[in-house]
């Protein structure tokens, strides 16, 4: 029987590699019985979705993150593009 610590670790691992059959079975059994670890699994999957949409979301006007190039950097980069010999 897996502990929650072991189960949560395997849940995280399952997002990065295919678990062995016996690991998958053990995790599934644990999740069937453990509300907290099921919750953890759902939340980790949510984090993955959120991460993939992070930049896209940040780009939409409504969710725009107020971080950008400084005016100086902007000018510097423009100048470098204009003066690039190629």
């Amino acid at each position: 029987m897996l502990s929650c610590q072991e189960a949560s670790y395997l849940v995280s691992e399952s997002l990065d590699r295919k678990l062995r059959l016996w690991q998958r079975i053990k995790v599934r059994l644990h999740l069937l019985m453990c509300r907290l670890c099921s919750r953890f699994r759902k939340q980790t999957l949510f984090l993955r979705d959120a991460a993939r949409y992070y930049l896209m979301g940040a780009e939409e006007s409504e969710t725009a993150v107020d971080i950008g190039l400084s005016p100086e950097a902007r000018d510097r980069i423009k100048r470098s593009l204009q003066s690039d010999p190629s």
Binding site: Y9, F46, L55, E60, I67
Partner: protein
């Protein structure tokens, strides 16, 4: 992957084909004007670089390098989103190269074993010490809230640098595990531990800084 895109495609967050559809295609022979790149894509690329490098000056340099490399490659692109994808591709490549080099120069100290990690979150018997709380709200709606993204960014920046980098490469850039290992110069076992810690940290931080505040409000 497919199910993820579908799951949130109703929301306003998806932008993929929009600019392409709205904007008539420009003639490919149209010479690119690199200075407009800076205004159109500069901030986006800067945020991208900053979230992975964690340093403004370094991130600015990477944006500049990306545009210069694009200029030298001398292609022109018809749609804004294609152009952006192209820039992101160049930038991503440069960042991964940079991280790989950095990890070579400063080898990572050994990562603790699986048994040791997350010890503060679990009791002696391996049961949850800090129990994952119920997260209120529909995930789709949560992802459309500005305040959520602010909390997300804050929590990401709060992670120790190495965890943040590993998480970004794996979950934002969607690099395969072996490529993340190569870039960070860690073994697959170590990577598993780092990702677990990053997910644990981010999960807990969002719980405190976003989801708990939602429960109180409702």
């Amino acid at each position: 992957m497919a199910h993820v895109r579908r799951a949130y495609s109703k929301g306003t967050i998806t932008r993929e084909d929009e600019p392409m559809n709205k904007k008539p295609l420009e003639t490919p022979s149209h010479p690119p004007d690199p200075t407009t790149w800076v205004d159109q894509h500069g901030d986006f690329l800067f945020r991208y670089a900053l979230s992975r490098l964690g340093n403004r000056a370094v991130a600015e340099d990477f944006v500049q390098e990306t545009f210069l490399a694009a200029l030298r490659a001398g292609k022109s692109f018809s749609g804004r989103s294609t152009e952006r994808t192209w820039f992101v591709g160049i930038l991503k490549h440069k960042i991964v190269d940079h991280l790989r080099q950095q990890s070579r120069e400063r080898p990572v100290s050994a990562v603790n074993s699986t048994e040791e990690m997350g010890a503060d979150l679990f009791g002696k018997s391996g049961s949850w010490q800090v129990k994952p709380a119920h997260w209120p709200g529909d995930p789709e709606e949560v992802l459309e809230k500005k305040e959520f993204w602010e909390a997300f960014r804050h929590c990401l920046e709060d992670l120790p640098r190495r965890l943040r980098t590993v998480f970004s490469l794996r979950e934002m850039d969607e690099l395969p595990t072996d490529e993340v290992c190569e870039a960070m110069q860690v073994t697959p076992g170590n990577l598993g531990v780092l990702l677990y810690r990053a997910r644990m940290g981010l999960r807990r931080c969002l719980e405190i800084n976003w989801f708990d505040t939602q429960t109180e409000a409702s």
